[in-house]
Amino acid sequence: MIATATTSSWLPQAASTQSQGVDPAFYGVYVVGAFAVILVAGLAMTFVRQFPRKGENERGLGDARPNVKLQAAWVLAALGVAIYAFTAGLPGFLDANAAPWMSYRVLVATSQDGYKFTYPNGHIADTLHVAINRPVRLDATTADVIHTLHAPALRLNEPVLPGRTAQAWFNATTPGTYELRSAVYGGDRYQDMRTAVVAHNPADFDAWMIRVSDVFAGRTMEQAGELLYVTKGCKTCHSIDGSKLVGPSFKNVFGHQFDTREGVRITADEAYIKESILKPNVSVIAGFEPVMTPFEGKITDKEIAGLTAYLRTLSDLGGKPAGADSTTAKPAGKEVAAVAAPAAPATPHGGK
């Protein structure tokens, strides 16, 4: 599964554009360094053989003055090597510190339990799936100790420190599955602190994302609604335990009657809930400000239905859903589930 290196080279086979900043610098410094080591050790061995002690009382040359011209050349050569190493490593280093504009942004939550990746659409997974030739930016945090994002094939090696958001990016070039793990001891489970990066062709990635991020697949409408409550961000302003946040709690809303700011008495039925999601500031319940972002165009009818089903479960007046029994998903949902379920641990291109 895990991509391994060709045995002829020092570095693993590169699978991202990051290698352009690392590999030439590595091999350049390697060649220069190996030459220097062989030169020094070779000269020492040569001199030991060339000037052996011939007599018991023989002494070496008494003159201790160095050959100044040779010395200057030697030092300048060493300084040249140092400057070369610095300039060779600089572009890749600077490049690694600045993710390109409009990179695909994935949030990474690390802890001693492992990695969690949150995609822009709210999908959460414990492996990192990406599309090739699309820069991916990782914004990573840790819940406990220092962990790292270490994926050698992608030339990715980013430490994640408590109290900070680490930022790293890469642009995969070859489809495949690559190991991603932590390279810093973070407790007894350090050995298993690892996951994988799966790089897909862009079309496959989009298809994968649609498949796995269908919240209705394998879930009842109520369960889908519960998940949407988190991923759509409702949770930020609406509690489910009756406590008052920015907006009204979702507890005991469905089916109850409320007064709006204008003094109109309404019933929180399906129609009102749909309106409150799409055009939330038209009919605001008394005691709250009209500050919610309208979701018109950002949410599907089916998702609204899911949320409504979830709100029913939170209300003592929720009762049976209107119409058909929806304790299982609607037919459309069933189809998706049937397609998605067997293919869930998808690794379309396999390892190399």
Binding site: A41, F47, L61, A183
Partner: protein, 503 residues
């Protein structure tokens, strides 16, 4: 004064302030720590290869191996054994100027070693020898004893550092100027500053770490920036590494001049390079934080500064090679170890160059490439120089000469084994293997097997070295007063001033 230690003189080993007797006791204590650390190394390597692994136990052993080797052996070995023995003789001082500090540094070393062994036998700490916070603030282990041990060792370095500085300033033979001191004496003098400054800092740091662990108090406790500890740790330990490397460079200079019977070529350049290395050692701790979360601007600055180290290193190498050139080079064990040093320390420096090249430094951070680099510098450099020095000064210290042939053979075995054992780490690290894993992935089993074979060859070399050296105490030939025909003070008492390398 230039005769070997006379055990018959009723020496009381516990109360002595005699620099030779203290030096010999340091030899037993540091060698003991080395052997314990080496046993850990053998077990660690076998477990990696056999994959019969309990990660927590592996972690503890790795931690203890690192602590024993770095803090109980590599840092003190050369100054405390060779330095304590040779410095007063090289200066013509007869004795350290503050003999009670000589004794104190030994006692603190003994207490520190005992406290460490006690902490291992009660419950070993598994936080890694660099104690990266916040992971090191929790987890099992008798941490209080461990930090006590490290603080005691730091006290030992401080005592010895003050003693060396005072002795160099006030104990030189009349007529001997600073620039008439042998290079080894210079290297010990410079190291003493690192001992005093960085040793004190290190002692304070481990106490703060213990406070943070015990009660979340102090600068490394609750809500501390996790990089703060790493920054301070390397601020202290980078000079301490220099504190191991400077005397190593001093030993190599001395041995090369001795075996080739030539004055050190460019004596003042060598001394200047050592001063520059000391100064750079205090300024370059940040290279250890590249790829660890340090700001890019700081990584940029530290990498640039660290690369300046190329100049003094090149000057030293130039002088060493020039001194061998047109010398009368003895075909002897110290010569073999000098060549081994140049090869191994050379690979150490060049792998270090890759860890200062910004983009590769980021890529290689936390991999076993860094571990391999550390071993090339600390074992390939410091340990090899220590062995070169031991073989060079053994007839001086014990009055007996070991077998020269076995000495050379053991040196070659050591060099071959060392490279076979640690070159695979550089390769595995470049492939991306992180530090501290109890098993290696299938793709790296081949290189791992090579490392294990190398380790056994290295062990064979070390057994040959130890049996040759200590065997000489039993049946070795009586060594003459000056078997190498060297010119520095420890070989001929009452020498006149002037260039220490001119007969």
């Amino acid at each position: 004064m230039s005769s070997p230690v006379n055990k018959a003189a009723g020496a009381n080993w516990l109360t002595t302030t005699d620099h030779k007797q203290v030096a010999l006791q340091f030899l037993w204590w540091t060698l003991g720590a080395f052997l314990l650390g080496a046993i850990y190394a053998v077990i660690l390597r076998m477990r990696v290869t056999s994959a019969l692994v309990d990660p927590a136990l592996y972690r503890q052993m790795l931690t203890q191996h690192g602590i024993l080797m770095v803090f109980l052996f590599l840092i003190p070995a050369i100054p405390s054994v060779l330095g304590n023995y040779m410095l007063p003789l090289q200066l013509g001082a007869g004795e350290f100027r503050l003999p009670w500090l000589t004794r104190l540094s030994l006692r603190l070393q003994i207490l520190g070693t005992l406290a460490l062994v006690l902490s291992i036998s009660i419950k070993p700490v598994g936080a890694g020898w660099t104690f990266i916070t916040p992971a090191s603030l929790t987890g099992p282990g008798s941490f209080a004893l461990l930090t006590t041990a490290l603080a005691l060792l730091a006290g030992s370095w401080l005592a010895s550092g003050v003693n060396v500085i005072v002795t160099v300033h006030h104990g030189r033979r009349p007529g001997m100027g600073f620039f008439q001191m042998p290079v080894f004496a210079w290297s010990l003098y410079l190291t003493a500053f690192a001992q005093v400054i960085a040793g004190t800092l290190f002692g304070i740091l481990v106490i703060y770490l213990a406070a943070a662990r015990g009660s979340a108090a102090g600068p490394f406790g609750a809500n501390a920036d996790p990089l703060l500890w790493q920054g301070y740790f390397w601020l202290a330990v980078q000079p301490l590494a220099i504190f191991a490397l400077l005397p190593a460079a001093g030993v190599i200079t001395e041995v090369i001049a001795g075996v080739s019977r030539r004055p050190v070529v460019g004596y003042r350049t060598v001394v200047g390079s050592l001063i520059a290395l000391l100064a750079l050692g205090f300024c370059t701790f940040g290279v250890h934080l590249i790829g660890k979360g340090q700001s890019p601007a700081l990584s940029f600055a530290f990498a640039a500064l660290a690369l300046v180290t190329a100049v003094p290193v090149a000057l030293l190498t130039f002088s060493w090679l020039s001194t061998l050139y047109r010398g009368s080079v003895a075909c002897a064990a110290p010569t073999t170890f000098v060549v081994a040093f140049l090869l191994c320390a050379g690979i150490g420096v060049m792998s270090g160059l890759m860890l200062c090249t910004l983009s590769t430094a980021n890529y290689l951070a936390n991999t076993v490439f860094a571990t391999g680099h550390l071993h090339y510098i600390m074992m390939g450099g410091v340990m090899t120089a220590f062995l070169a020095g031991l073989h060079y000064w053994w007839p001086k210290m014990f009055g007996h000469m070991y077998s020269p042939l076995l000495g050379r053979l053991s040196g070659m075995t050591y060099m071959a084994g060392f490279n076979l054992a640690f070159l695979p780490q550089l390769i595995q690290g470049a492939r991306g293997l992180p530090q501290g894993l109890a098993t290696v992935p299938a793709g790296l089993r081949g290189t791992d097997l090579v490392a294990t074979i190398g380790m056994w060859i290295l062990t064979t070399g070390l057994v040959m070295i130890i049996s040759n050296l200590f065997g000489a105490l039993h049946d070795g030939e009586k060594a003459g007063e000056n078997p190498w025909g060297a010119t520095t003070g420890e070989w001929r008492s009452g020498a006149v001033g002037g260039d220490p390398y001119v007969p």
